[in-house]
Amino acid sequence: MASILFVLLKTPHENVNLELTTDLGGQSKKAALLFEDAVYYAVDRKAAKHLAEHVDEIFVISDDLAARGFECDIGGKFKAIDYGQAVDLIMNYDRTVTL
């Protein structure tokens, strides 16, 4: 598999099986697309580090981040995007897998 986009919806404390990204993705190009409460991965330092160890790129819906009280100038592997860009990612990755 060339590339997999993992879709996450839940908080880092609810979403505990991040290993599944590596187990299912193997050597593929792997990205995480964070919607809803999964955006807390971008601001919880420990959770951010853990997720970054598992995937190559991380995309965060900026509206969801703003609603929860956080600015969008996040860095490292994390990139803030809108819904249009999320659709482009879904179309460009070979597989989309919700965890």
Partner: protein, 119 residues
């Protein structure tokens, strides 16, 4: 390139933000010129119930009608509807009560990508 996105929704209208996420993704995909199919399964069928009157939360039923007017195809599972006491004729305008075998299988065969929205 115009492609087809299948949104597989299994969360209900109000239980969490999942139904709103489905609407936002569908809207963005239509904006990008893609085809959109939404299939509501399990709790996901409740999004098409007519007469939703949320006081402060978004009205998902209304938003689905708008999506249908823009060309999205919206179908929910009939068995799941009947189990919950929601019957044919109670769906919002633009949505259809259908089945896995007839409708979802067609959606799957037409889909370039699927996004599952469930918890």
């Amino acid at each position: 390139m115009k492609r087809t996105l299948l949104i597989h929704l299994r969360s209900g209208s109000m239980m969490n933000m999942d139904s709103n996420l489905a609407v936002k993704l569908a809207r963005a995909a239509l904006d990008r010129g893609h085809n959109v199919r939404i299939f509501g399964y399990g709790e996901g069928i409740t999004v098409v119930k007519e007469g939703q009157e949320p006081k402060r939360f978004p009205n998902v039923g209304k938003e689905l009608t708008e999506l249908a007017e823009r060309g999205a195809t919206i179908v929910v599972c009939e068995t799941c509807c009947a189990a919950r006491g929601i019957h044919r004729g109670e769906e919002v305008k633009g949505a259809k009560v259908g089945s896995l075998t007839n409708d979802l299988s067609k959606f799957v065969s037409e889909a370039d990508r699927i996004v599952t929205i469930a918890r």
